[in-house]
């Protein structure tokens, strides 16, 4: 007997018949009738009229019948809430049934009935069920809390269910633990700031125990929850890893991937020297490869994640290239992902194989895939230098096929190869030129034109070729037009005699007949350049170009680290942080990899290679665009003005005022951004006269250049603070501050005589300190200091004194002597007075250094409540000699890459993340990398001081 017959009754007056049957005395008949009702309901017939009759059948001890009635209730309660109330009593009663299955079923069903009136009645039974003696009931009740929370969050909180749920994390039964974690995770999602899942070593232990015994779905929740925990040291991290590793052998791919996430994250804390680290790396490869033999949908998600993993830790899969080879009947979305990973894994060792495969793919049917395969060959050439020659010849073979889109893609990538390896493969230009006519896509046309312009001197008929493009100038896309304009100007500069007419023509086309402002502007610039100074034009247009970066498509490191924390989630599929796409704009909680903290016993040699640092062969990420303008301006300024030796003569008070006032008024006229507030207050402006004069004369010119000029202004100066109170120094009060201006540091002191006798014979001395700060001149106070008199003096400092590491690092111990006694005090100097003017690092250098500094030297800070935009931040910092090397915008956030150098030659690199346009989120995130990590804290303080004042 099968159940199918229930679906086949379609007689008239059905409802009426069913009603009679439902009210029958015979149990069997009743059950049959309920089954018929459910069957009708399933196929979409309205049987809600039978509500009271069906609910009447609820009071039975037959489990099957009860389940069916519950099913009916769940379906119709929403549309008939008043009638559903009738069932409440039975639910409450069922929640106390001796059979745990019935208790669980009742509480589960009540949770599924999303009717407000019913939820009120649910609370008491739910409370009981959460403490039920049977684990099956408890685990069902745990999930029910999450359901209830979705309907009425306030109710759940008021009733204290969240605490009960937290208690269940320590339950003796693994299923209960798993469900409690699942429920809490779901609730936590709508309360990102809550600490519902605050874990401690005890609860971690509970979770790890439950992990081995709960269902696969429970394991996923537990693993995802574990991934949010930050172990206190590497030992704890290792022990968690050890207990998570067996999950890699689970049949459920989601379990495997969640386990991979935990391991990838905690690995960050392990030292690379550990044997265990190597073991773990080895263990990660097989499960990742196995994911690729699953169904294509699973493969796709796995591949998107593997893409992240190979960028973070290429060593894991470096020997597994072959599993990413494409099968012709893979779905296209799998093919494209595999191709991407193949290129990421390509190295000198396997390049031959990879190229052979790529060539094979280039003859496939699917156009998108073929195009990507051709591009991949170009990327290989750029990535693996040794293979460049072979790649070029493969591309030439492909061009010979004359398949239109293959040829076009090939030309686009060959252009890139030229830019990476200039003067090497130009012999192929002739072959490329043969295919000029078949190019119909803008990108390919633009690439070809670029090649013709760039190598105009080697192509005999370059002028004819370019002229042929010029005929249909207005029908071309902007990309092609711009390229054509540049190419013809290049041609003209190389062969001026024959091409004058051509260049005239293109310039007038671009400037007079075009509606495109970019094109017009570029046209005018060239025109003026050519007409004013052809030599300069040549230098500008034919300047040597920087080589293109190895790879521009790598994910930026901070984002990659964040995404590693999201392995297995939608974020990992989209390669975007969840804040960028999850609806509802919940509070942005950025996850980050745990820092490395070694346990006290394990001593690490400083040479230890960093766990997180990419291995040597990993290509760089070049920040694109950047602040080219800034670079140019700085260039124009020449090397930063270094401070001339300070005049040894003391600066007279009058002179100070004059200069200070004059300077101030000069600057007052200038627009904001030069850093009005950053300037030294007049009272402290103690610029030596000769320098002041030179500044004054140069100012008017220089200040036209706006920013860039920051090097000339001084660093931020804190208001003077009392260093030595009069009480401690027999009436001498000393307050002071530090300044740095145009390369010289000084200590601005204000001495007040609060005693009744005259003070004379002042002298000052510093104790040895971390940066060798020492007075560059004696403390010169000529006139005796009478009672109640105050004198201000600026003491020039240098950094050639003897060095001793102080605690804290910026501690300075000072002794001041006068005719009465010797007094001692200590003060903390702000680190930014040590930031030197030539602290701007070259961009390439910056990247190399950033990579080179081990990850454990990276320190992260938050600068709260700083509502400045990137430009303001950048210019403000620059006036204190923190230089922005590059700037980029990632996911709506501005990232500033900055460098600074200390007087003792220590470089500090910084990455500053700013969220513009989000007034509610004004915190800046600062990552500092430095070979001497102990300075980071102080650099951070300097940042904070500069930005907040």
């Amino acid at each position: 007997m099968t159940d199918s017959k229930y679906f086949t009754t379609t007689k008239k007056g059905e409802i009426f018949e069913l009603k009679a049957e439902l009210n029958s005395d015979k149990k069997e008949k009743k059950k049959e009738a309920v089954k018929k009702v459910i069957a009708s309901m399933t196929v979409g017939k309205d049987v809600s009229a039978l509500f009271p009759d069906v609910v009447n059948c609820m009071q039975t001890d037959n489990l099957e019948l009860k389940k069916l009635v519950y099913l009916y209730l769940m379906n119709y309660a929403k549309s008939q809430p008043d009638m559903a109330i009738m069932a409440v009593n039975t639910f409450v009663k069922d929640c106390e049934d001796p059979n745990p299955l019935i208790r669980a079923l009742a509480v589960r069903t009540m949770g599924c009935i999303r009717v407000d009136k019913i939820t009120e009645y649910l609370c008491e039974p739910l409370r009981k069920c959460l403490k039920d003696e049977d684990p099956y009931v408890r685990k069902t009740a745990a999930v029910c809390v999450a359901k209830l929370h979705d309907i009425n969050a306030q109710l759940v909180e008021d009733q204290g269910f969240l605490d009960t749920l937290k208690d269940l994390i320590s339950d003796s039964n693994p299923m209960v633990v798993a469900n409690a974690v699942a429920a809490l995770s779901e609730i936590a999602e709508s309360h990102p700031s809550s600490n519902l899942l605050d874990l401690n070593p005890q609860s971690i232990n509970k979770l790890l125990t439950a992990l081995n015994e709960c269902t696969e779905w429970g394991q996923i929740f537990i693993l995802d929850c574990l991934a949010n925990y930050t172990p206190k040291d590497d030992r704890e991290a290792q022990s968690i890893c050890e207990r998570v590793t067996p999950r890699l052998s689970h049949a459920n791919s989601a379990v495997v991937l969640s386990a991979v996430k935990v391991l990838m994250k905690f690995m960050e804390m392990l030292s690379k020297d550990l044997d265990y680290y190597g073991t773990l790396l080895k263990k990660l490869a097989p499960p990742l490869v196995t994911l690729l033999s699953a169904e294509p949908e699973l493969q796709y998600v796995a591949l998107r994640n593997i893409n992240l993993i190979v960028q973070k830790r290429p060593e894991i899969l470096k020997h597994e290239m072959k599993v990413f080879f494409v099968k012709y009947n893979d779905p296209i979305y799998v093919k494209l992902e595999k191709l991407d990973i193949m290129i990421r894994l390509a190295s000198q060792a396997n390049i031959a194989q990879v190229l052979a495969e790529l060539k094979e793919y280039a003859t496939e049917v699917d156009v998108d895939f073929v195009r990507k395969a051709v591009r991949a060959i170009g990327r290989c050439a750029i990535k693996v230098e040794q293979s460049a020659e072979r790649c070029v010849s493969t591309l030439l073979d492909l061009i010979q096929t004359k398949v239109n889109y293959v040829v076009q893609e090939a030309i686009v990538v060959i252009k890139d190869i030229f830019r990476k390896y200039p003067n090497k493969y130009e012999s192929v230009i002739a072959t490329l030129c043969e295919n000029l006519d078949s190019l119909d896509e803008p990108e390919a046309r633009a690439a070809m034109i670029w090649i013709v312009g760039e190598y105009a001197e080697r192509i005999d008929n370059a002028d004819e070729l370019l002229e042929s493009f010029l005929e249909g100038f207005h029908d071309e896309s902007t990309q092609v037009q711009l390229q054509l304009l540049t190419a013809i100007v290049k041609l003209f500069l190389k062969k001026p005699t024959e091409t004058q007419e051509l260049v005239q023509q293109v310039l007038s086309l671009a400037t007079q007949d075009s509606d495109n402002p970019d094109l017009r502007d570029r046209g005018y610039i060239y025109w003026r350049l050519l007409s004013t100074d052809p030599v300069a034009a040549k230098e500008v247009v034919l300047a040597e170009k920087p080589l293109i970066s190895e790879e521009t498509d790598l994910i930026e490191p901070t984002l990659l680290d964040e995404l590693i924390c999201y392995i297995g989630t939608l974020a990992s599929v989209y390669h975007k942080p969840p804040s960028a796409f999850v609806e509802g704009g919940r509070g942005v909680v950025h996850k980050s990899l745990p820092p490395r903290t070694a346990s006290s016993e394990s001593t690490e040699s400083p040479e230890t290679a960093p766990a997180g640092a990419p291995s040597g062969d990993q290509p760089d990420v070049i920040p694109t665009q950047g602040d080219l303008l800034g670079d140019l301006l700085n260039l124009d300024l020449g090397p930063p003005v270094s401070g001339p030796p300070l005049a040894t003569s003391s600066v007279q008070m009058g002179a100070v005022d004059l200069l200070g006032g004059g300077l101030d008024s000069l600057m007052g006229d200038e627009p904001e951004g030069i850093g009005g507030p950053n300037f030294v207050a007049p009272s402290a402006a103690t610029v030596p006269a000769n320098l002041g004069a030179s500044m004054g004369s140069g100012l008017s010119d220089l200040f036209d250049l706006t920013s860039g000029v920051g090097t000339l202004s001084g660093s931020y100066v804190a208001p003077k603070a009392v260093w030595l109170p009069a009480m401690k120094a027999k009436g001498l009060e000393i307050s002071g501050t530090f300044t740095r201006q145009v390369g010289s540091i000084s200590m601005d002191l204000q001495l007040t005589n609060k005693a009744l006798q005259v003070m004379t014979d002042f002298a000052i001395q510093f104790n040895r300190n971390s940066f060798g700060l020492a007075p560059a001149a004696p403390l010169q106070i000529h006139a005796p200091l009478s009672p109640n008199q105050t004198v201000e003096i600026s003491l020039p400092l240098n950094t050639v004194g003897s060095v001793m590491k102080m605690e804290p690092l910026n501690n300075l111990q000072v002794a001041v002597k006068n005719n009465i006694d010797v007094f001692y005090f200590s003060t903390l100097y702000p680190l930014h007075i040590l930031f030197v003017e030539d602290g701007k690092m070259d961009r390439q250098m910056f990247l190399a250094t950033w990579k080179d500094i081990p990850n454990e030297n990276e320190a992260q800070f938050q600068i709260r409540d700083c509502p400045l935009n990137a430009e303001a931040v950048s210019s403000r910092l620059q006036s204190s000699n923190i230089f922005t090397v590059a700037k980029r915008n990632v996911e709506g956030q501005d990232m500033l890459y900055q460098s600074l150098k200390l007087t003792n030659g220590i470089w500090v690199l910084a990455e500053l993340r700013i969220q513009p346009g989000n007034p509610s989120f004004t915190d800046l995130e600062l990552s500092l990398k430095c070979r001497a990590p102990e300075v980071s804290q102080h650099v951070y303080q300097a940042y904070e001081t500069i930005l907040k004042n």
């Binding site: 007997m1 099968t2 159940d3 199918s4 679906f7 099957e64 299955l101 999303r114 049977d134 099956y136 979705d150 999602e189 709960c214 269902t215 696969e216 779905w217 996923i220 995802d224 052998s249 689970h250 049949a251 459920n252 791919s253 989601a254 495997v256 991937l257 097989p286 499960p287 196995t290 033999s293 294509p296 949908e297 699973l298 796709y300 998600v301 072959k322 599993v323 080879f325 099968k327 012709y328 009947n329 779905p331 296209i332 979305y333 052979a356 495969e357 094979e360 496939e364 049917v365 096929t401 297995g568 989630t569 939608l570 974020a571 599929v573 989209y574 969840p578 796409f581 999850v582 609806e583």
Partner: protein, 364 residues
């Protein structure tokens, strides 16, 4: 988690929907249909689609799309695994007949994967060791890539709470394994024995992968000559199949499938053995070969008719080969013995081996 689930057939009818929280309008599926249209082939529909307010995560199984609607950040693999489990359950329930006999019954037990009170008159335990060879063979016949995907499927009908131990002659072969949750991982790590209390009925005990190239034998070879003449509307097609490393077993159930280029109109071939069909619409050539007798190797030759005037096809069709070898696990994996503890009766035990072609492709 999953907000709603839609089942959609190949012609685009939404024939079943289930909503766990609130009802999400069917119109959300329009985004899916859009993606489907763009993908041209049903198998190419991307599994994760984003729409303005939801994410659609779908699987394609047995000509049906299972489309789930997601609103929050979830692990997509969780959803995909779950959808496959839903599909499995449907398959189980609807089976070959229309509707299965019994509704699933949940019963409390200490072992989550096994119900209590199982009783059989005949107690039996069968294991199928099934290995599939995935391989890519290049034009010249050398192996580009090969690995074995193996599974051990079990059919266990044992009363009570049996505790089983399955051991292998050569467990070292298994270095990349995925286990059913019932297996005790510690025992495997320390003794390389599969120790478990089995679920009742049919289930997959383990799946494994053998990838080291030297262990993967390639049982067949293909000689092929497929060529299209320039500027003429015909081409030549000639393939021959022969046994290679077949461990002395018969290779049977051979089928060759070829996706011919679009310009192919028809094929006029003669098989020495078996029969062939060519579908001029999908351009798929299927040759049902049967088994190989080494004395006379099966071959299929003849002419290919191309659309006149069309350029010679650029791409070379790949051959997809299916075959089967009974009583052999090509990796050499062998079960040593099966012991049962915890129950008194003596069960019937049996192990069967079979090797098949998985994704076995020969490039031409």
């Amino acid at each position: 988690m999953i907000h709603s689930l839609f089942l959609i057939n190949c012609s685009g009818d939404i024939f079943l929907e289930k909503h766990w929280k609130s009802v999400v309008s069917q119109s959300v599926c329009d985004y899916f249909f859009e993606a489907q249209e763009k993908a041209a082939d049903v198998e190419n529909v991307p599994p994760v689609i984003s729409t303005p307010h939801h994410y659609l995560i779908s699987i394609y199984r047995d000509k049906l799309f299972f489309v789930s609607v997601i609103q929050t950040e979830v692990p997509p693999l969780f959803v995909i695994e779950f959808l496959h489990r839903v599909a499995d359950t449907f398959q189980d329930y609807f089976g070959s007949s229309n509707v299965g006999d019994t509704l699933p019954t949940g019963q409390l037990s200490n072992i989550p994967w096994r119900r209590a009170g199982v009783k059989y008159t005949n107690n039996e335990a069968y294991f199928d060791v099934v290995e599939e060879i995935d391989a890519i063979i290049d034009k010249s016949g050398s192996t580009v890539f090969a690995e074995i995907q193996g599974v051990i499927d079990a059919c266990i009908k044992l009363s009570g709470m049996p505790d089983l131990s399955l051991s292998f002659m050569n467990p070292r072969l298994l270095d990349d394994v995925s286990f059913h949750p019932c297996i005790r991982f510690k025992r495997w790590e320390s003794e390389r024995v599969l120790s478990f209390i089995p679920p009742d009925g049919n289930f997959r005990l383990i799946s494994y992968r053998v990838s080291s190239q030297n262990l993967v034998a390639i049982p067949v070879y293909v000689k092929h000559c497929i060529s299209f003449k320039e500027n003429s509307s015909c081409g030549r097609f000639d393939i021959t199949i022969g046994p290679k490393q077949n461990m002395g077993k018969t290779i049977e159930g051979i089928t060759v499938t070829v996706h011919m280029p679009k310009v192919v109109l028809n094929m006029n071939l003669t098989p020495t053995q078996g029969s062939y069909t060519f579908d001029p619409v999908t351009k798929v050539l299927t040759w049902d070969v049967g088994k190989i007798t080494p004395q006379k190797l099966p071959s299929l030759k003849g002419l290919v008719n191309l659309q006149s005037g069309a350029p010679k096809p650029e791409e070379n069709p790949s051959l997809n080969i299916q075959f089967k070898i009974q009583q052999l696990a090509i990796s050499g994996l062998k079960v040593n013995r099966l012991d049962m503890y915890g129950e008194k009766y003596k069960p019937f035990k049996g192990v069967k081996y079979v090797t098949k072609a998985g994704k076995f492709q020969v490039r031409t």
